[in-house]
Structures are given as structure tokens and as C-alpha cells.
Symmetry: C3
Subunit: 278 residues, 3 copies
């Protein structure tokens, strides 16, 4: 039986371990939001390091306690870097988060997303369209053809990606987080729905990417499912709080980082969520 | 006869269509200000997507309603990406904005600026030095030798670039926007001068780049001339408003994004400008 | 005899020259903090230009009055760009700042840090772990093996890097700045300790990189030692002031840029520091 109180205790533990240990988390991520990803990781208590080169990624895969791999702003170098780093992570049994940004755009992106399936990302985070398309690409139940992806923004609802998310989690043995108005997090047997956030999160760039980066931070201190749920909870909490204090997206981004930093473990665990069995 | 009221109505229409339709705008742009470009595009109502790879750029050229190409922080990959994407845009008759940052620095930048002439950018946006140098490079009337460009900042006045701007607009059949204390926008037959802004816009990086990105957003919903004028107007309005609320460039950047987001169509159309025939 | 009052007068002069002359400073720097570097350089009065290509870097080496080279987020292109630009700077006797971020990670980074030794960076800026590791790599007194570097953050105290910093300064004939709770700046014969700053500087990304970029700005108007001390002083002053006005790292970053912009020359010169002979 899943127990909400147990989950909350694990969230508290994840938050407190990260704040105490300041874990190093490596990232390979896009140039649009790389600064925001790093600042969000620092705000929740992590230490951020970003690289592009294959051997540097392999070094970080070992030196870091978790790694974040984001498919935005692809460069040719990724053909070498991403498989080598994913392989190193998989072999070292280090947690890593895959953010399949803009899956369906471009041949190299598609090829590498196919190739990375075998390295079993610990957590997959994306919006509903990306989760549906990735499940489709990996030929899993609930997936769709790639054609529905519209740039980097979602055109599908979170609940429409439920089956795809469960199938992806079962495939990797890890967790999947679908971001949207209500976030869906699953490990393939339990599904959590996390509430909160702000309409401003769609009016700034990087809310999703930085959430992926923060999932990686918590993956150093918790199971994939708890890491994804903790990150979603602190994002929803900080988003709700930040929105009350601002009237535009510029101020929201700043206030949001402040609220990530200030959120305490108990409040994060108490951010509204419900759970159900698959 | 040009009619100021007609222009204002077209500005209102452009602002409202963008807010309602949330058009996707692709960008290939420099790493310095890429985040600010995306956030500015989102603040005015667009949806932003950034890429570097040739086939991804071609995909976005078709999937987006307009594209922004900025020549900052060149990488070797651009030798393939920029001609292929510009060609795709030209053939699909999609609007695109060229921002010839630092024209005159480096051989690849120069070669590609020459090559892109035939794909007729819908809008060219730059500071006076860049517009003068680009007109010179393209061997148009009013242009100058490249030697006057000083890094990325302008050393020439906007009015000194008037003939070059008109010549560039006539060459492309689109519009040209020259950014400065007063902005000059022309389609080759009409010239508009847009007033406002803030001295802080020269104290932050990305005021010019993000203006180019926002021109592309409005180019999804208006003629090249109206798109460039609308973007200049909302920038001048937001700059004026933001400056009154802050006392430093950090706060200015944040407040400026907030004001971009909050500006309504009527106020943007009423931001001071005058028009003259060429 | 070193005289504190003389040093303060030179700091005042450096700050005022930069504000008056708006010197162009080129940078080759990482994608994580490139925006923050540029905004910090603008806030203190410089003009920023960033490039990646070898010939563009050589152009900027000549066109700029100083250059900042940061070893973060390495790309293969740097194998050509960094030696060519460093050589051009050395031959033109232009001041340049080396920021050996993450020294010890990756083979290319290590190879290039070895190669750049002969081009004698005017100022080397890093945290204690980086300064220790660079001195070790260059086989200087006080250096350590590379193995102590932990990602991009320091695990060593500033005072533990004192001998390494002095040895590096003697090797280059320039200055070295070690960033930490108290900053240590030396030209090999004098050591200054600069106080202030904020705990939030470790909670945002780019405090160190942007300090390096600002050292380069002051290096256009002062000796290497005074440039490094002036930059450290304005950073410590702005950090102290910003911390009093904010309660989170997002707001800190913004307020910090405002305080960099507002700090006057006298206050920067009076920011607490002491000096000792080596």
C-alpha cells in the first residue's frame, strides 16, 4: 500500500540531504536556459557544472552524484557526447535525468533519443507532447507519432500522456514526470499529481528545463520517483508563492528563484498532491 | 498618402493577433543574449524556439510563422545552417529578421552576410554602424566601408544611416529598423521615427538582439514595416516606463520584461512617432 | 614601500577612466554565465563583445583594450581559438585575464592550459582550488595535483593558495586574484586581502566568471595588480550592499548588478583591504 505520509517524509529527507550535502550535479543542456538551470540547482542546494565535450562529460558522470541531459539547442558534438556520457552514467549506476526537448525535430536528435533508450534514464521529464512523442519513438504503449510536437511547447494535456508516462517508467525502471498545469509523476506503479505553480511559468523560458535540472539534484538523495515529486512540489510551491508578489514575467523569474531558495522541507512536503495506483 | 491613424490601427491589430495566437518564432541567435531574446518574445505573446543545426533550422523555418537570425557569437556550423535556413525561409515566403551583429568582424561572418543578400530578409535590424556597414558590404547607396564598426556597439548616429536604411529596404523589398536614441524604421518609401526608451538600454546586453527577436514575433501578424515599428514602439514604451521604476541596469532588465508583458495595444500604438515620405 | 593611500588613488583612477572611456573588452567565455559577464562589464562602464571563432578572436584581441578568456563549457573549436588569440594578445602586449575554470577536467582543457603558459596572462583569476591546480599543472611552487578540483567550486581556502598565487604571478609577471570569503590579490611582491561580499555569491552562478570579466575591464586602465584589486573591491562592496536589500539569490543577482553600476570610485577605494609584502 502506498502511504502519503511516507512519501512526505521521503520528500523532507531529500530536501534536507541536498541542503546539507550540496551535491555536485553535472549538466549537458541548451544555451537558452543554461543559466537559469544552474541558478535553480544552486537555489535548492546543489552545485552545478556544465560541459559539452565527451571526455569532460564522462569525467562529470563519475565525479557528479547525478547528471542532467537536456536535448535543446543541439550541436553536432552531441553525437559523441550524449551516448558516451549516458553509457558512463548507466554503467556507473549514477542517476540521470533525460529532458527530450523538441523530440521530433531534426534527424540527430531523433537518432540519439533512440540510442539513449538502452541507457535507461533514471527520470524522464517533459511536457505532455514530448512524453507522448518519446513513448511513440520508443514504440511503447500510449505513445504518438512525432508530428504533434509544436516547437518546444506542449499542445497536449498532461492526462493524455498518462499511459505513455507509465509505459516509459516501466521501460526504464525509473520515473517519469509530465509537466503541465497539474504535474504527473509516476514510477510505473504509482502516480502522483502535484498541484500549484503559476501561469507565469509559461511566460518565461526555462521553467521546464530548470525543473529537470532540479530533479537531478534531488536524484542524488532520493529514489527517482521521490526526486521527481520533490522537484515538482518545490516548483509548484515556489511558483504559487512568487506569483502573489509580482505582476510580470521578469519579476516572476527572480522571485521564483528566491522562493526556491527559501522553501523549507515541511512546506515542500505539504504542497498539495494526491496519489493513485496504476 | 500615408496616414498615421491607419498605421496605429495596424499596430493595434499586430499586438492583438500576437497575444491571441501565440505564434511560434524560431531563432538562430548568439549565446550572450539568447535567454533575454526568448523571454522578450514570450513577454509580448510569442512562443520561442532556438536551434543551431541546419536541418532543425529548416524544420523550424517551415513550422514557425517567422524566424530571427542574429549574427552574434558565430560558430563554424553557421556556414551550413544560415544559408540553408535563409533559403528555406525565402522559398517558403516566410518572414524573417536579419540582425547583422558585428558585421565586419571575421571572414565567415562577412562571407555569409554577402551570401544572404539573395534571400532578401524581410526585416533588417541593427544599430547605425551595422546598417551603414551592411549597406556598404552589399554595395548599396549610403553604405560605408566596414572599418567603422566598433565591436558590437554603434559609433554612428541613426540619422547618418538613413540613406543606407532606405537603400537596404529597397534592395530587399522589406523593412529596415535602425536602433538608437530615436529609432528609424523604413520600408523604402516611408520613414517612421519612434521615440522613447531609456539610457539603461545601453547598459544591459541584449536590448538590440531582443528587439530583433520581437520584430520577428510581430512579423507573423503584420507587414515588415508595421512589425518593425510595433516592436520599436513597445520597446520604447517599456523602456520609458521601466526607467521610472528602477535605479540600476539589473532592475531595469527585469522591469523592462514586465513592462513588455503589461503594455496594451492602444498604449503601444500611441507611443510617440512621426512619419515622412522618402 | 607600498603605500595604501597610493593604491587607493590608483583604484579611483581606474574606476573613473573606465566610466569615462567605456573601453571595449573582448571575451571568450562559457555559455552558462556569458550574459552575466557581459552585464557586469557594462555595469562598471565597459563595452562587451563575445566571440568563438579564431579570426574573430584575433580581430577582437587587437580591437579591444583587454580580453577575458574563461575555460568553462569547452568546445572543440577552442583548440584553435585559444592559442591563436592568446598569442595575438601576447604579441600585441594587450592585457588579458585567464580564468582556468575546472582545470583538471578533460584532456583539451589541460593541454590548452599548458600551452597558454607561454603567453603570460596579465591576470589569472580563480578560486583557491583552481589556482592551486594551475600552479601544479605549470609545475610551480605551491601548486597541487589536479585531483583536488571538485567540479567548478572550490574545496580549498584562499590562504592555502597563497604560495601558488605568488608563484603564478612571478611566472607571468602579472597579477593573480584568488576569490573566496576574503579575496587575495598579488603581483608576486605585494599581497592584498580584500574583504566584503556576500554568502549569496556562492548561491548564484557567475560571481567568479563575471569578476574575471570585470578585472579585464579595469585592466584597460590600470596595472594588473590594481585592476584585479579594483574589481575585487567593487565586487565585495556591491555584494555587501546587495545582501542587505534582498532575501534570496534571484533578487541578489539583480541588486548586485545595480550596486556595481551605482558604486562610486571613492567607496570602491575605501572598501576594506590590507596589504603585506611577500
Amino acid at each position: 500500500m502506498i502511504n502519503k505520509k511516507d512519501i512526505q517524509n521521503q520528500i523532507i529527507q531529500a530536501v534536507e540531504i541536498v541542503r546539507r550535502e550540496n551535491p555536485i550535479v553535472g549538466s549537458i543542456t541548451n544555451t537558452v536556459t543554461i543559466n537559469f538551470v544552474a541558478n535553480a540547482q544552486l537555489a535548492v542546494g546543489g552545485s552545478a557544472a556544465m560541459v559539452y565535450l565527451p571526455d569532460e562529460g564522462e569525467f562529470l558522470a563519475k565525479a557528479s552524484e547525478a547528471t542532467y541531459i537536456n536535448f535543446g539547442t543541439f550541436i553536432p558534438l552531441y553525437e559523441q557526447t550524449l551516448p558516451r556520457v549516458s553509457k558512463a552514467l548507466h554503467e556507473a549506476r549514477k542517476p540521470w535525468v533525460l529532458d527530450p526537448v523538441a523530440v521530433g525535430i531534426g534527424s540527430l536528435r531523433t537518432q540519439l533519443l533512440l540510442e539513449l533508450k538502452k541507457y535507461k534514464p533514471t527520470v524522464i521529464r517533459g511536457n505532455a507532447s514530448e512524453i507522448l512523442a518519446l513513448a511513440g519513438l520508443w514504440e511503447l504503449e500510449g505513445g504518438t507519432a512525432l508530428s504533434t510536437v509544436r516547437g518546444v511547447d506542449s499542445t497536449d494535456s498532461v492526462t493524455s500522456a498518462k499511459n505513455a508516462a507509465v509505459a516509459l517508467a516501466k521501460c526504464t525502471g525509473g520515473a517519469v514526470a509530465v509537466s503541465g498545469k497539474t504535474d504527473l509523476i509516476t514510477d510505473g506503479s504509482v502516480i502522483a499529481f502535484s498541484h500549484g505553480g503559476s501561469h507565469f511559468m509559461g511566460k518565461i523560458t526555462g521553467a521546464g528545463c530548470s525543473l529537470g535540472g532540479v530533479v537531478a539534484v534531488y536524484a542524488t538523495a532520493a529514489s527517482p520517483f521521490i526526486a521527481a515529486l520533490t522537484a515538482s512540489a518545490v516548483y509548484n510551491l515556489a511558483g504559487t508563492r512568487a506569483e502573489k508578489k509580482v505582476d510580470g514575467p521578469g519579476s516572476f523569474q527572480i522571485q521564483f528563484l528566491d522562493e526556491l531558495y527559501k522553501a523549507n522541507a515541511g512546506d515542500i512536503a505539504n504542497n498539495p498532491f494526491e496519489i493513485e495506483e496504476v
